[in-house]
Amino acid sequence: MAVVNEVELPGIGVRYEFVTEGGARVGVVHHRTGERELVLYERGDPDTSHDLLRLGPEDSRTLAELLGVSQVAKELVELQRQVEGLAVDRLPLPATSPYAGKTVGATAARTRTGVSIVAVLRDDAAFPAPGPEFGIEAGDVLVVVGTPRGIEELVVLLRAG
């Protein structure tokens, strides 16, 4: 990841800036209201900036999804096509699950079923590649990759422990 420069805007919010691989300087203004602004600086003249986009909280999520997270899903579909017998599934964590309020590591999903938890979807947010310390809650949706049989075992495991 490129070095992200953080600039405080008192009373407004924070601005983050970075230089893309292509050499363009990009800024993202986080307003406290939840609004986001995407700014592009002109090359050779840092005092000229173009206010490219203004995004509401919902828009920012959509854009983030389009830029990053849904790529995970796309790559998974791609992977599924390449590796025969590989299944991808979304498993909701039931409220009665003994793992609600525990961590990804506590399920020992990979050791016990060979299935990997590759992402956690919570409300509208997605957390790709959660580590073993990542806390999971009732209502979370786990994106899992494994054999169809392994996933079936995991479903039972999540329900009954």
């Binding site: 805007l9 008192p10 203004v29 406290r32 602004e37 003249d45 173009h50 206010d51």
Partner: protein, 386 residues
């Protein structure tokens, strides 16, 4: 007992506020000058002076002042204040020196006493953080390199006000040197106490007031706020300062929610506050104030521009950024009216109110126009397009 006339007058004023803010939104400038105009037209010596609603509007104006300063305080956390102060001491000092001097000098030249001249110095010094933040956001300047410098100057100014307002309140109370010194000490202790209480108990207080019910939360905030304002006023520190400090003391999720709950309430009462200020000024006195106000506005616009230019240059910003920083700072608004309002209430100098009103009218309009103009300044040399 509210009678029919009272409701009709109040309704008329509210409807007028609605029309004016609609016009301001439509043309993209601050509604403050329009509210002042409306106050002039319907107050003392205006075209249609109000009779029955005046008392209610006066109380509303007081609440408007408190909400205005409280929400201003909410904008900043204590950490932001300290950071801005540390980073912008020199620019802040230059700002104070360049922009308070014209007011002080003109007041003394016109033969005023020292106290009203000090009030005028405050009026010419303080930029309108409300108008400026809005203008810069409208113009899409939040990504600009000079923007943090401009915002930091505004923060320092607002912080200076936390000391200045109790100071002038004390001066207005008057009395011998001994009494003034004691009153200043009280003011310093109160300001220190509220800030310290905010730092130590702010999070606890914020948690206490926080509620998931809008209603419970709103009453909680208003209760704490009005009590703080009343207590500070009782100690001669001015309710405005108490409210501002209370705003800084609030933090975290409580501050976020307080902001969103209070914004509509503030819009209503702040509008009343500006109208009420206009009420108390006889439009007949404006022509006399026009010449000094024009002079003061020309000088005050120039010195603010210089302040922004120099501060931006010190920050290593190029020519266009310096022009934008200078132009952005020109606008005066709510705080100048707050200071003038204190003077008018005490009745120190009859010329102060009209002069302040005319000055703010000119610069609240000229500031955003200057900023829009600065945005169109072409780069010195052609640059590659992105």
């Amino acid at each position: 007992m509210p009678d029919a006339l009272f409701l009709v007058e109040l309704g008329g004023v509210t409807l007028l506020l609605a029309v004016l803010s609609r016009i301001a939104v439509r043309f993209g400038f601050s509604p403050i000058p329009l509210y002042l105009f409306a106050g002039l037209a319907f107050g003392e010596g205006g075209v249609a002076p109000l009779v029955t609603a005046e008392g209610f509007i006066e109380a509303g104006a007081e609440i408007g002042l408190i909400l205005l300063l409280f929400t201003l305080g909410l904008e900043y956390s204590a950490r932001e204040l300290v950071d801005a102060l540390r980073a912008s001491t020199t620019a802040g000092a230059l700002d104070a020196l360049l922009n308070a001097t014209p007011g002080l000098a003109l007041g003394l030249i016109m033969g005023w006493d020292l106290v009203p001249a000090i009030l005028l110095a405050g009026i010419t010094y303080i930029s309108s953080s409300g108008v400026i933040a809005r203008t810069m956001d409208d113009l899409g300047w939040m990504g600009n390199r000079e923007t943090p410098i401009v915002l930091a100057i505004l923060v320092v100014e607002d912080l200076v006000m936390a000391g200045y307002l109790p100071f002038v309140t004390v001066l207005l109370v008057g009395g011998g040197v001994g009494r003034v010194v004691i009153a200043v000490l009280i003011a310093v202790v109160v300001v220190g106490a509220v800030l310290a209480a905010g730092a130590w108990f702010g999070p606890a207080l914020s948690r206490l007031v926080f509620s998931h019910s809008d209603e419970a939360m709103l009453f909680g905030i208003l209760g704490v706020l009005l009590l703080t304002a009343g207590l500070t006023e009782a100690l001669n520190v001015s309710a405005a300062v108490g409210a501002f400090l209370a705003g800084i003391a609030f933090s975290g999720p409580a501050a976020e929610r307080a902001r969103s709950l209070l914004v509509p309430l503030r819009a209503v009462f702040a509008g009343v506050f500006f109208i009420f200020f206009g009420f108390r000024i006889d439009p007949g006195s404006l022509p006399d104030a026009a010449v000094p106000a024009l002079l003061l506005a020309a000088v005050g616009g120039g010195t603010k521009f210089l302040t922004g230019w120099v501060a931006a240059r010190r920050g290593g910003i190029g020519r266009r950024g310096r022009i934008r920083a200078g132009a952005a700072l020109i606008a005066r608004g709510e705080f100048s009216i707050v200071i003038a309002g204190i003077g008018v209430t005490v009745g120190v100098e009859p010329e102060l109110g009209p002069l302040a009103a005319a000055y703010v009218l000119l610069l609240a309009i000229a500031g955003p126009i200057a900023a829009r103009f600065a945005d169109r300044v072409r780069p010195a040399r052609a640059t590659a397009t992105v």
